[in-house]
Each structure stands twice: as structure tokens, then as C-alpha cells.
């Protein structure tokens, strides 16, 4: 188990080489893939999210930690799939139409992946119909919408309305976030949840899929 402690630390330190090496070694010793994810990667990324939340970590530290987590996940994922383990939930994520900013969205996507979700990232400037297509095709539990600008966050409403029109609104939970977005705005446009920060988004996603 000391190895998993090392992996935990490697993710927190953003050291992807050590993270990959320790993961390989742990698997060779017979550690179960699910143990690595749930016993190590998820708590490590939760700690990273906490530090980001407390503003001890900033974007660079978060990105490096996410890279280390992904280096480990890359090794573990094929084994997980082979055992038929299910993710915590499936999330379709993207920055809404008209908005090309993807920094915040990428952070949330990384933290969600680190939180055990399967993340389908549609990128930036995503039209409502692409969110709908992806959510339907991939049987998503959650749709996460990002916007950086006050002028583009209205596309969040358009997207939620499009889910309604397509008759899919009840099939998915929709969460929103981004610099100009507030709880009040989320309520006004009929979103199921609002995350004030990237860290809060993971807790919210868990709550929404459990609901």
C-alpha cells in the first residue's frame, strides 16, 4: 500500500512520470484497477480540488495534477473496462455556442474525470444540437455547460431550451458554471445546478447523479 501513497503524492505534486511508473508497478503487483482509482486517484484529485478551492493551488498546479492523474488513468482505464466497472456517471461537457473560452471547462473536465466520471468533452463553441446528440448517443447522466462571457452565457438558456424542445430535458441533469454565471442565473434558466468553482462542480455532479 505504500506504493499507492506514492501515487497519491505524485498526483498532488503533479509528477506524471512518477504517477505512471507507480501505477505500472502497482498493477504488476496485482493491485486492482478499481482500487487504484477509488482508493488513490479520486481522493488525490479531491485533495487537489480542495487546495484549489482554498486558493493554495492555482491553475498551473491543478493542470499538472490533472496530467499526472491522466497518466495513471491511461494505464488503468483498459483494465477497468475489461472488468466492466461502471463510472460514477457520464458527463457531456462543453463551452456553449459563441464562446471560445475553454480554460475553465477544461479544468472542470479534468476534475470530473479525477472524480471518477466518464467525461465526453465537446470542446468550445458547441451548438445546442451537438450537446443533445452527444447526450443521447452516449446515454449521458449529466450535461455541463460553461461560458466565460456575460454576452455568451445566454447560450446556456438556448441550450437548456433545446433539450426541452427535443423532449430530453427529463433524461439528463444540466449543470452550469463560468465566471459570470451565478446561482440566480442558473435558477432563472432552469438549470439543475450551479458550481461556483471547478472544485464545487465535482461535488455538484456527484449530488446530481445521486438524485
Amino acid at each position: 500500500m505504500s506504493d499507492l501513497q506514492k501515487l497519491h503524492q505524485a498526483v498532488i505534486d503533479g509528477d506524471w512520470k512518477t504517477a505512471a511508473a507507480v501505477t505500472e508497478a502497482a498493477i504488476a503487483e496485482g493491485t486492482a484497477a478499481l482500487t487504484i482509482v477509488n482508493g488513490c486517484l479520486v481522493p488525490a484529485m479531491a485533495e487537489v480540488g480542495r487546495r484549489y478551492e482554498c486558493e493554495e493551488y492555482f491553475v498551473p498546479e491543478l493542470l499538472l495534477a490533472a496530467r499526472a492523474m491522466k497518466a495513471s488513468m491511461q494505464i488503468v482505464r483498459p483494465l477497468l473496462t475489461a472488468t466492466g466497472a461502471q463510472p460514477v456517471g457520464r458527463v457531456v461537457i462543453g463551452t456553449v455556442k459563441g464562446d471560445l473560452h475553454d480554460i475553465g471547462k477544461n479544468l472542470v473536465a479534468s476534475l470530473l474525470e479525477g472524480g471518477g466520471f466518464e467525461v465526453i468533452d465537446l470542446g468550445a463553441d458547441v451548438a445546442p444540437e451537438r450537446f443533445i446528440e452527444a447526450a443521447a448517443a452516449r446515454h449521458a447522466d449529466l450535461v455541463a455547460l460553461s461560458a466565460l462571457l456575460t454576452v455568451t452565457m445566454t447560450s446556456m438558456k438556448t441550450t437548456i431550451d433545446a433539450f426541452q424542445t427535443a423532449g430530453l430535458r427529463e433524461k439528463v441533469k444540466i449543470m452550469v458554471g463560468g465566471a459570470p454565471v451565478t446561482q440566480q442565473y442558473a435558477d432563472a434558466i432552469g438549470a439543475d445546478g450551479y458550481g461556483e468553482s471547478a472544485g464545487a462542480a465535482v461535488a455538484l455532479a456527484r449530488k446530481l447523479v445521486a438524485a
Binding site: 486558493e55 498551473p60 493542470l63 456575460t150 455568451t152 438558456k157
Partner: protein, 292 residues
């Protein structure tokens, strides 16, 4: 004395306020790139620029914040040149024109773009802005020191004075950039990069700006450029859907002028949420400060 030093000998400069919201008030669609209006609706962009000159701005910017090849597509050479030409027409010799260069919107540290790509985008923009006759170049709303270094290097190669300004909006005291950089780290790196002035813009509202200004001023000998937001945006539900307003009056905003001056600001203006009225209020505040 440097060109910037000569200009500043006349006392603190009042710069301009927000452009995006002013363009929206003149019909720019939400989500549309304001920069393209330099080519498609030059008269409306000029109306915004002129409103700031008439309000008393001694320096106006250009509507070119996003016009680098990483952040947007289109005929960027034409958009940048037109942006400077519009501001120069509006200034009509009454104000200086500092051309705006914004961030790429991509992260070097995440490998989303390479240094060469960012450098090439900034160089092309800086060259177009300079050829069109800008008085100085303003690299603004930066959060990453590494990216700002590339932009400053590109801007400096034109020979124009270069101001570089960061958005301090993170950390417990809102005194870090999104990438975690402190005012001291920014000042040291930008002195090293050869910037002629350093500053803070956008961020989380004018009430948080004086401490950042003071720290930038204490950390280096460069003039300090300050352009804060008018508080934070407030979302309101209207019949047309949610709209955004900034809940700070021009007078309240301008009441921070003295604190910013005492904190060492040489240039004072407004960012998101500010209007020509805010500039008028700043001009009055400066006059009052001189008479006090």
C-alpha cells in the same frame, strides 16, 4: 526621458472605459466578436471612441483586444489597422492612442499552443497596430507571466512604448492572477521583459485594486497602469431574458481615484462596466484632488 516619461510629466493620465458594453448598446450582438466591427461598422466603433475623448480620456485604446491569430479568425491585419485608424480619427490629436493586445485565450502550460505560435500571433498583431500609427502598445488582461513575456517581446520589437497589464482576480485577497502570479512576481518579470509600464486591469472591482497597485508600485520603478472593473456584474431577469449590469455608480467608482493615486497609479481608467460617465467622474476627481 522616455516617450512615456515625457507624457507622464503632465501628471496622472485619465484613460478610457469599457468598449464591449458600449458597442452592445450600439447593436453589437451578444457573442459576436467586437473586433470585426472595425471593418463592418467602423462608424459605430468610432462613436464609442469619440464618446471617451469627449468625456476627457487623454488616452484611448483600440477595439483590437481579441485580434490575434490564436484568439480569432478573419482578416486580422485589416481589423487591427482599422482599429487604430478609428481611434486616431476619434482622438483627432486630443488623445493618445494605445493599441490593445489581449491574451490568446490558450494555455502554454497545458500545451494548448506552443510558444512559437503565440509569439507569431502577437508579432503579427503588434506589427499591424504599429504600421497603422498607434502611439503605444498595451498588452492587457494577462494572467500568465510566460505568455505576457512573449507578447511584450513582440510589442517591444516595434520600437513603441509598451505597457503590460494583468488581471488580478484570484487568491484569498484577490491579489493573484488566475495562474497564481503575485504583483511582485509580475513586476519583476515585466521589468526584466523590458516593459515601460506595468499594471492591473479588469479583476474583481475597483475596491480591490489599490492594494495591488501599491504592491506593483513598490516592487518596481515603472509607472503603474490601473483600469479596474466597476464592481462585479449583477444578473437580472428581464422580459428579454437575463441581462447584466454593474452595480456601481460613476461617482462611487471615481471616489477611489485618490486612493489609487496614493497607491502610485500613473494611469487611471475603467474596465468592464465603466462608461464615458465614469471617465467624466474621474476627470472631476482629479481636478478636486489637485485643488485639495
Amino acid at each position: 526621458m522616455s516617450r512615456l516619461g515625457e507624457w507622464l510629466a503632465g501628471g496622472p493620465f485619465i484613460t478610457d472605459g469599457a468598449w464591449g458594453t458600449e458597442l452592445q448598446a450600439r447593436g453589437l450582438a451578444p457573442g459576436a466578436a467586437p473586433d470585426t466591427w472595425n471593418v463592418t461598422h467602423p462608424e459605430r466603433v468610432e462613436a464609442v471612441a469619440r464618446a471617451y475623448v469627449e468625456a476627457g480620456s487623454q488616452i484611448i485604446l483600440t477595439n483590437t483586444f481579441r485580434a490575434n491569430a490564436v484568439a480569432m479568425e478573419g482578416d486580422l491585419e485589416a481589423i487591427n489597422r482599422a482599429g487604430v485608424a478609428i481611434s486616431k480619427r476619434a482622438a483627432a490629436g486630443e488623445a493618445l492612442v494605445f493599441a490593445s493586445i489581449g491574451p490568446t485565450g490558450k494555455m502554454l502550460i497545458a500545451g494548448e499552443i506552443g510558444e512559437e505560435q503565440a509569439q507569431a500571433a502577437f508579432s503579427a498583431q503588434a506589427a499591424a497596430l504599429t504600421a497603422a500609427g498607434a502611439d503605444a502598445l498595451l498588452v492587457e488582461t494577462m494572467s500568465d507571466i510566460a505568455e505576457a513575456r512573449l507578447a511584450v517581446a513582440a510589442a517591444k520589437s516595434t520600437g513603441l512604448p509598451v505597457i503590460v497589464s494583468f488581471a488580478f482576480d484570484s487568491g484569498k485577497n484577490k491579489d493573484r492572477t488566475m495562474m497564481g502570479a503575485t504583483p511582485e512576481a509580475v513586476a519583476a518579470a515585466m521589468v526584466e521583459a523590458g516593459a515601460d509600464a506595468v499594471g492591473a486591469n479588469c479583476g474583481v472591482g475597483v475596491e480591490h485594486t489599490a492594494p495591488v497597485c501599491r504592491r506593483l508600485h513598490a516592487a518596481c520603478d515603472l509607472p503603474v497602469w490601473i483600469k479596474p472593473n466597476a464592481g462585479l456584474p449583477i444578473i437580472e431577469n428581464t422580459l428579454e431574458g437575463p441581462t447584466v449590469r454593474y452595480d456601481m455608480s460613476a461617482e462611487v467608482f471615481a471616489s477611489h481615484f485618490t486612493a489609487l493615486r496614493e497607491a502610485g497609479a500613473s494611469f487611471v481608467g475603467g474596465c468592464c462596466g465603466s462608461t464615458p460617465d465614469f471617465i467624466r467622474a474621474l476627470v472631476r476627481a482629479r481636478a478636486n484632488a489637485r485643488c485639495a
